[in-house]
């Protein structure tokens, strides 16, 4: 037998998981009984979703004016939150696809949750362009389809790029997610009975784990991962171009694409930490989510935070070095203008706080990581707020400078979007195996009858 994978397999043995079937036992029990904690979270989320949809309905009925937007600040909390969620969506596929390609051994236990997060985050993000347009009922004009007007969308517009990038990203990551889940749904099917069994039988597509299925499955999975990886990078580059393609001082920068991608991974990983820490507690997955995993994620956070910080600094430097008065004013205004507080929140949460991750003791303390990840999430939201709002409110024409104050409706929708996300994520944890069953077994030592056999193979 090939020993090539011996190292890989030994690498992340979960000490208190004796045999393969234990994995099914531990993971599938999550699906069986909804705990009290789950119910509380679910009720909160449902209420939030109510607020989310209510506020949106009110806005559509009354007009986009119920937001605090104005001239010159035509984009505000909505676009900020859009970019935030797209960013969150990233590390899901990153952890899943890129780490898969690089055979990172700590991937298996978290990638399912991460991918689910991706799917639901894109789902949430995708709503915001719709929320922020003035005439929702005409938003479908952005989609190219043969129509009686002989009109097509403007493919030169970054917004149309967005439409393509985000929908593609949603489709591909959804497919990737579903495909990876199929064998585990099958496991769930075999472990359940009654209605659930029927449901699982259908969505598991009758998976039986035969040799042929596994064979093609493995290949397809690799190719999907190979496609998803550049996609991840492209999507947030496109999102960053919504800004970089404009001439607005503070937006019009070549650094934006890598800067945004790094930021996205940064916030994404932070969100994965936040979510898995909760799952770990609520579903008792300590055996599968070990400090090793968190240590790895923390290191990823640290790296990306350094990249992001570097991007901040180089932006300020370039503004100064260009000598261009308008650019200089824009960034001076960022630090000390009307929205100085947002900028400093951003710098603190994304630049200073993560410095703590240099210390092993903190990387290995789950509570500490949890708190830090929350800080990072807040910081990254404000990063987008700073980019969108401070750039717009002080532009070329001093006469047209203005102040933007988010309205209640806006905040309602923004906060509601978190509930909306949570709502789906909670459902997911109850309906689909939130931890990859099959792939975990892949990294467990296989059961052997004759220990000796190992040697000569």
């Amino acid at each position: 037998m090939a020993t090539s994978t011996a190292t890989e397999r030994g690498a992340l043995t979960h000490p208190d998981v004796e045999q393969l079937s234990d994995v099914n036992r531990d993971v599938l029990k999550i699906l069986s009984k909804p705990g009290k904690g789950w119910w509380i979270l679910f009720l909160i989320a449902s209420a939030g979703v109510g607020m989310f949809l209510g506020s949106w309905a009110w806005q559509v009925y009354r007009g986009i004016g119920v937001s605090g937007l104005n001239a010159p600040v035509g984009w505000g909390v909505y676009i900020t939150t859009f970019v935030f969620w797209v960013g969150i969506a990233h590390s899901g596929t990153l952890i899943s696809a890129i780490l898969f390609l690089f055979r990172a051994p700590w991937r298996q236990s978290i990638y399912r949750a991460a991918e689910a997060m991706t799917v639901f985050a894109v789902m949430t993000a995708g709503l915001f362009p719709l929320i922020h347009v003035g005439r929702l009922w005409h938003a479908y004009w952005l989609i190219p389809y043969p129509n009686s007007r002989f009109l097509w969308p403007n493919f030169k517009s970054p917004l149309v790029w967005d439409v393509f990038a985000v929908t593609t990203y949603f489709t591909v990551s959804a497919v990737f997610f579903y495909l990876g889940t199929v064998p585990d749904i099958a496991a769930a099917r075999d472990g359940s009975k009654g209605l659930r069994k029927k449901l699982y039988s259908v969505i598991s597509l009758g998976w039986r784990g035969t040799d042929r299925q596994w064979h093609h499955f493995g290949k397809a999975y690799i190719f999907l991962a190979a496609l998803a990886t550049p996609l991840v990078l492209s999507v947030h580059s496109v999102v960053s171009w919504d800004f970089a393609m404009a001439i607005v001082p503070g937006w019009h920068a070549t650094i934006f694409a890598p800067y945004f991608v790094a930021g996205a991974i940064f916030s994404g990983v932070a969100m994965v930490i936040t979510l898995t820490v909760v799952m770990r507690k609520v579903f008792g997955l300590e055996a599968y989510l070990t400090t090793k995993h968190y240590d790895a994620m923390a290191k990823l956070c640290l790296l990306t935070s350094l990249i992001v910080l570097y991007a901040y600094l180089s932006e300020f430097f370039m503004a100064w070095y260009s000598g261009e008065e308008i650019e200089r004013t824009a960034f001076w205004n960022r630090l000390f203008g009307d929205y100085w507080w947002a900028t400093w929140i951003m710098l603190t949460c994304n630049g200073l706080v993560p410095i703590m991750l240099w210390f092993k003791r903190i990387r290995h303390s789950i509570p500490a990581l949890f708190v830090i990840s929350i800080f990072i999430n807040i910081g990254m939201w404000f990063e987008r707020y700073v980019i969108v709002v401070t750039s717009l409110h002080h532009e070329f024409e001093p006469w047209a400078w203005g102040i933007y104050r988010p309205s209640l409706t806006e905040m309602g929708i923004m906060v509601g979007s978190f509930a909306w996300f949570g709502f789906w994520f909670l459902l997911f944890t109850r309906l689909l195996p939130p931890v990859a069953i099959a792939e975990l077994k892949e990294v467990l030592p296989p059961p052997m009858r004759k220990r000796t056999k190992e040697a000569h193979s």
């Binding site: 479908y140 989609i143 389809y145 043969p146 129509n147 009686s148 007007r149 002989f150």
Partner: protein, 186 residues
């Protein structure tokens, strides 16, 4: 075996969603065309266009612009004033259904305008200068259909494209007229 219905299904789904979009997109047009509220047929007077403008024996073969007087010099074609109707009908009692003519004269005597129901209407955000099209040598019929042959006009009889922008664009392209948006939309 399976692969067939699978592929078939996928293809079907795609086409369906495509259709759905086009449908949704034309909904407005449909709304105007099908919704009886939008274009009720009940005119205050049963005015027979064929009787006036028709060229059949016994019909009067009048020029459209005798009544729709401003078509060649204005963006609006114009509705004949009651006095214009009365002008003729003072002496013409009406061959087929004089009671309708009575109504006209009634309006005239009461000095009341006739509340005609509008049949031909394009969206308010599109500008259609009648005179430019007349000057370009178009017949009224090319847009309004063979009005002189119908007794009761309603929206869907003639080849009228109504709110359908494609219908305008199609002609503009055919005739090599400008397709610059701001020619109609401003």
């Amino acid at each position: 075996m399976k692969k067939h219905w699978l592929i078939g299904g996928l293809a079907g789904a795609l086409t369906l969603s495509g259709l759905a979009f086009v449908r949704a997109q034309d909904a407005q047009v449909a709304a105007n065309a099908d919704d009886p509220q939008a274009y009720p047929s009940g005119q205050p007077i049963a005015f027979p266009h064929n009787q006036h403008a028709g060229s059949e024996p016994g019909q009067n073969n009048m020029d459209c612009m005798f009544c729709h007087f401003s078509a060649e010099r204005s963006v609006d074609a114009g509705i004949p004033s009651v006095s214009l109707c009365a002008g003729c009908h003072q002496v013409i009692p009406g061959r087929n259904n004089p009671e309708e003519v009575q109504k006209v004269m009634q309006y005239w005597n009461d000095r009341e305008p006739i509340p005609w129901v509008r049949i031909y209407k394009i969206s308010d955000h599109a500008h259609f200068p009648h005179m430019r099209h007349i000057a370009a040598g178009f017949e009224c019929q090319e847009c309004h259909g063979e009005v002189q042959t119908v007794e009761v006009i309603n929206q869907r009889d003639p080849v009228w494209g109504g709110d359908n922008m494609g219908w305008c664009v199609d002609c503009h392209r055919r005739e090599e007229a400008s397709t610059d948006c701001s020619v109609c939309h401003y």
